[in-house]
Subunit: 288 residues, 2 copies
Amino acid sequence: MTSDRPLAFGGNHLDRSANRRGDADWLAQSLAAAETHFVHINGDRTIVVDGRLHTGRNGQAREHYLLGIDAGGGAWFACHSDAAENLRDLRGLAVEGLLPAHELALLAQARSIVHWHERHGFCANCGQPTAVKDAGYRRHCPSCSVDHFPRTDPVVIMTVRNGDSILLGRQTSWQVGVYSTLAGFVEPGETIEEAAGREVLEESGIRTHAYRYVASQPWPFPSSLMIGLIGEALDREIRIDTRELEDARWFSRSEVEDMLNGTHENALRAPPPMALANRLMRLAFQPS
Amino acid sequence: MTSDRPLAFGGNHLDRSANRRGDADWLAQSLAAAETHFVHINGDRTIVVDGRLHTGRNGQAREHYLLGIDAGGGAWFACHSDAAENLRDLRGLAVEGLLPAHELALLAQARSIVHWHERHGFCANCGQPTAVKDAGYRRHCPSCSVDHFPRTDPVVIMTVRNGDSILLGRQTSWQVGVYSTLAGFVEPGETIEEAAGREVLEESGIRTHAYRYVASQPWPFPSSLMIGLIGEALDREIRIDTRELEDARWFSRSEVEDMLNGTHENALRAPPPMALANRLMRLAFQPS
């Protein structure tokens, strides 16, 4: 599936170099090397100076996690930062398109892995402190010997079609006027398609089928993998789950085009082009 | 994507009833009700008596996790079991096809969620004990107030094509003669397609592109979501990562057919039809 406008957070150029992660000598040399880059993560934010990603050394960081090696052979590491200045949040950077796509992608990798370490200093199995291993891709518990690995949480996000209209909803917390595709986490013991059908039924009361896969997108808030689908509705009458959605309704093709183009008469809007939801709205009316 | 032979662990008939998970009164009534079913999980195993899934009450279980509600209105819960008799492992049950598909599917759900609770009694953020919430779909830390949710780990599994042959490998731990599609966990900050390309490159040295999605399958050992793809190779020369694979090579269409049919002259075999890998091998030679 191709598209004119790229999705944010994909397109990482680094060689992740998993074979280097256990090589303590190589890691020590790389951390000391002048050409090594450091990606600073403070919550959802990183450091941008004069419009460029800051990748200088971080004297305060206690742990560094390997992102990979660039085409020039330079290593890139992620680290937590307590910086208070020059911070820019990753969503804003993605919408704005200030940084190259491949830098946004390694920021996504960095943000997900830094967040995981910040929340996983202890062993979920026994409660004792754990230690970083494999350059950040494992934490080991010396007390009970259990290994823990970074999370990636699959999320289904789907446009549901009924004739010449699609189902969109909005949450109370969203910006005024924004409507988007429904979405939700895949649960244990579900296929992707089953999760999509369950989420749409739960949130809108609409039964669906015939899902097809469109594209995927890393979504580092904190560690989702968005799995984009287009499916077909079997019902028309919406029953909203008001705990999940503030509103949901059917939108005609022309209304969706106006939302995508920013010309909707009531100022309703789609998510920005960097988001998979935008692509799913644009592709919903093309033949499958 | 349809197929004559269903994949194991999909096809759950239960209504997961997420809206009931926070309803303490309903949960207490359901746990006491005569028509409620209990799925007993001991590691990868459950209890099967006279060829039927045992769903009787478990007096020893301290926690019960809601699986959902069946078409007759009966609730189903999963629980840990210390039973030592009549145990059957879920892989064997899936290969054998003894139980109905929808029972295998709820066993997958039960096994993933029971395993998650067994390994997550403590808060990864602060090390203190956590408590079950939402009928098993959340654990809450009363010390630091962080919520933890069950894991579902996305895994890419892919057939790679080169002309009229496909790339298959085998791990030392597998049964003698079995070759299968390559696979690996999606990492933070990757799309599905990027993860597929990275895994194939890491394990075999083959560059790939043009992946298309085929199907997904829950794989409850302990909590994977298998995402099946077919892609195209850009290279032919294999360099095996011997830490991951014992062997990898190109297999011709006729050799793959013999492996699928159990008629290979050297007794090489495909994974069983219940596994997504089998479907990916069968579909690899069909036009996309």
